[in-house]
Amino acid sequence: MPEIFEYSFMVRALLAGLLVAVTVPVLGSFLVARRYSLIADSLAHVSLAGVGAGLLLGFAPVLVAVPVTVVGALLLEWLRQRRGLSGEVSLAVLMSGGLALAVVLANLAQDGSVDFSSYLFGSITTTTPTDLIALGIAAAVTLAVVAWNYRAFLHIAFDEDSARISGYRVTLLNYTLAAMTAVMAVLSLRIVGGLLISALLVIPVVTASRFTRSFLQTIGVAIVCAMVAVLAGLAIAFYAGIAAGGAIVLSAIVLLIIAMIWKS
């Protein structure tokens, strides 16, 4: 057995990474199709503010980050639907605001036992059995909700107005997608990190779309790309002793570059 499987923390990290890799590109496909990738990035930054608040209050950071990020997601979606969201500017404010708040709260908490950078960039050693269970449940619920409403989500991605006219509950589904993205962003924090999670939402989808002819194919190929990137990244992080998120995202980018050269 390779050395990498001899450590239980590493097995947990690999399992968690695979759960993230199977789920995140599914959400990513719908977000990228609608050009919302920046929203995922903003949510990840808001989730870091939730972690900071958790550290300061002395609660489990993820327990605080989940509701904070879900509220952030619902707020963003509400602003978008009211067209009160003037594009990039509001997102940029939310993004940097979330990170700034996260840093300030984490500094105020001054808990030496917690390495805040592991939330920023991911780590292979921090996944607890509880994290793994939470991730498993979230992944199962997310995939089930998307599978159940796949045609509706696809119709919304194609054209929101005609989806509404066809009788789909577009507003509810938009909030659901935002909330699921928020939960997955928070639960992916320990593996990929808040600064890098949006890369895993976007890059495998973009890589896959160079080869595919349909939406469903794209989701399938994107999941494979994300799995390869996560497994390669975690192995590199283990052997080289570097941050997991960095290694995973760089692996995903290498795949994208290979795809671009192949299909150029």
Partner: protein
Amino acid sequence: MHAHKQLLVDVDNLTVHQGNETALNNVSVCIHAGEFIGIVGPNGAGKTTLLKAVLGLLPEYHGHITKQKATVSYIPQHGNLYSGLVPMSVMEVVKLGSAGSVAIALEALAAVGMVDAAAKRFLELSGGQRQRVAIAKALASQPDILILDEPTTGIDEHSQAEFYETLGGLQKKGITIIMVAHEVDTVLKHATRIIALNRELLYDGPPELFDAEKHIPNIFKARHEELHHGEHHA
């Protein structure tokens, strides 16, 4: 004149405010089964707003809109068709209309002469072909009313002619067509009824009696300015 035809939509004294502006003022329109209605008017005349009212997409308005139970399909402006970064196949797009049925989707693609493109990427197609796929998607939901918002803006003349022919065929099959159009001359040739708007109703009647310069004098001025300033229409 429409007494023998079934009334599908009755818009009565519709007034819509958008911000401080009045988008539509006291507009009343009845739509009967089997009509091909062309809605014309200058930019910002409230044409799209009237469509949205019929579609039930307006959050706030004054007046009454009564609709018979009818299946409505909507085709957005050419520029608002899907342009996302994730590929969708033509088949996937049309199946959105057919509730997943491949047989109905193929039938709809055949009706617009696009069966051969079923496996292609939607974004591989030309503008005219995409618009035909959009019609196929709408047809696949087997609508009673087809609503189109400037469907041929930005499409070359040859494709426009094909497009109008397809629409004419649908109308003969009994589908009611309501369309906002920029190309007044072309619409006059195909529609059975013209509605001219400029925030209020300027004309409602047969195309033969419609005189653009008399009924919507602004439209030519507006189009002239548009051509010279390269402005986008809303």
